[in-house]
C-alpha cells in the first residue's frame, strides 16, 4: 500500500482527518516548533507542552523552566516565552522546560491521538524528512496557524516537506498541492515571502525580526522532537 501525505491547514480542520495510525508533524514556524527543535537539539532533557498558562504553574517548584507566550509576548512572571534565543545550550541543556504558546501547544494537544507526534521546523527539515521516508506510515502535516486561521509560514514549511517526500508518498489532498506550490514560490527568499504574511507583520510590531530570521534557517539542527507521554524528547534514530 502506498503511503499518503496530507496537509491540515489549521487545527480547526483536524477532525477531518483520521490520524490514529498516522505520524503527525506539528508545525508552528513562528516560533514554537522552531524553538522546540532548537531546544531539544541543544540538549534540553524534555519540553512539556501544556495548553493553558495556568497549567504551567502546576510545574513550579519542580526545578523546571517555565515558558509562556500569548499573542507573541512572554507572559509576565515566566522565565521566558517562545523566542529561539531562550533555548540556547547555556539555558536549556539538561533542563526540562514547561511551555505554553498561543497556537503551537494547542495543535500539539489536538494531535495526541496520532500513532506518533513529531515536531517540524526549517531548522530540522532535512533530518525530519529523511526519517519520515523510512517510516511505513501515512503522514499528516498539521499547521498550527494563527488562532485557527491559515498562515503562510506554516503552510510553506508543509510544502517543503511535501516536496521532499512526494517521490515516496501519494499526495492525497489539494492542500498538499497548494502548500508545495507556495513553497516553490517562496523558497528562494523565505524571509521576503513570509513578509507577505499578516502574522509576520505582527512580528515586526513585536520587534522580533531576529527571531523570524532565525526560524527561517535551514537544517542547523538534526534533532527530531517526539511526543512521549506528556513530554517532547529527542527521537532516538
Amino acid at each position: 500500500m502506498q503511503r499518503k501525505i496530507e496537509v491540515c491547514l489549521t487545527p480547526a480542520l483536524i477532525n477531518l482527518y483520521t490520524i490514529t495510525e498516522s505520524i503527525v508533524v506539528v508545525i508552528d514556524i513562528l516560533r514554537a516548533t522552531s524553538s522546540i527543535v532548537y531546544g531539544i537539539d541543544n540538549g534540553a532533557e524534555a519540553i512539556i507542552p501544556v495548553a493553558q498558562v495556568e497549567e504551567c504553574l502546576t510545574y513550579a517548584d519542580k526545578g523546571f523552566l517555565l515558558a509562556a507566550e500569548r499573542n507573541g509576548e512572554v507572559v509576565a512572571g515566566y522565565d521566558f516565552g517562545n523566542s529561539p534565543f531562550s533555548y540556547t545550550p547555556d539555558k536549556v541543556a539538561g533542563k526540562t522546560v514547561v511551555l505554553t504558546t498561543t497556537n503551537g501547544t494547542k495543535a500539539l494537544h489536538l494531535a495526541r491521538k496520532a500513532h506518533q507526534v513529531v515536531i517540524g521546523s526549517f531548522l530540522n527539515l532535512e533530518s525530519l524528512c529523511s526519517w519520515l521516508k523510512t517510516q511505513d506510515r501515512d503522514i499528516l502535516l498539521l499547521c498550527a496557524g494563527w488562532k485557527d486561521q491559515f498562515n503562510l509560514e506554516d503552510t510553506i514549511f508543509a510544502g517543503a516537506v511535501v516536496q521532499q517526500l512526494r517521490s515516496s508518498f501519494v499526495l492525497s489532498d489539494d492542500a498538499s498541492v497548494a502548500a508545495e506550490d507556495l513553497y516553490i514560490l517562496a523558497k528562494d527568499n523565505l524571509r521576503a515571502y513570509v513578509g507577505k504574511s499578516s502574522h509576520s507583520n505582527r512580528m515586526v510590531a513585536l520587534n522580533i525580526e531576529e527571531d523570524v530570521q532565525f526560524c527561517l534557517q535551514l537544517n542547523i539542527c538534526t534533532a527530531i522532537p517526539v511526543l512521549v507521554g506528556d513530554s517532547l524528547v529527542a527521537l532516538k534514530k
Copy 2:
C-alpha cells in the same frame, strides 16, 4: 476606513469571521456556483438553495424544477443536478429551480447572516468584481471546498477576485495572499492547474470533463446572483 478583503478557505472556518456587516461571495466552481450564475444569466427567475435532498421534495408539485447533486452525481428521481448544461435558456428561462448540492448550498446557508450574499464563478468574474468595487463594504470570499476540506479550484477563483480588488481593498489575512499567488500560478492554464486537484480527479471519474471546461471559462455571463430571502435572483445593478 479602508475596506478589507478576506478569504475563508473552507466552510468549516466560517465562524472565525464576523460577516454581519460584510458582503460574502460564495464560491463552488465545480459546479454549483458556476451553474447558478449560468442559470440566472439565462433567465431563471430564481434558484432556491436548500441544504438537504429531502427539503427539495417539499417544493414538489409547485411547478419548480428540482435539482439535487450528491458526491458529484444527480440524485435519482430529480430533474437534474448541478451540471451547467442543465441550466441553459431552454431549460430554465422563467423557471424557478430548487437546488441542493454537496458543498455549495451548505456554504450558502452558512453565509446567510451576512449583510449580503452573492454568487461568484469564473463565468461572471469581471461583472462581480466591478460591482464589488462600488460597494462600501468589507468582503469575505467563502470557498465551499469539498466536504469541509480546502480545494484548489475555489481557492484560485478567490485569488482571481483578490487580484482584481487588491488596489481598492486591504488584504487582511494570509489566505488572501496565498489564494492570489496560487491564481497567478494557475491563470495561464486554469484547466491544467485544476488538473492537479483531487476534486478534479473525481470529476474525471464522473466523466464530466465538459462541465469542468465549461466552468473555467471567463466572463461569459454578466448576472450576479444575490440571495434575497430564501432565493437567489439576479442582482439589479
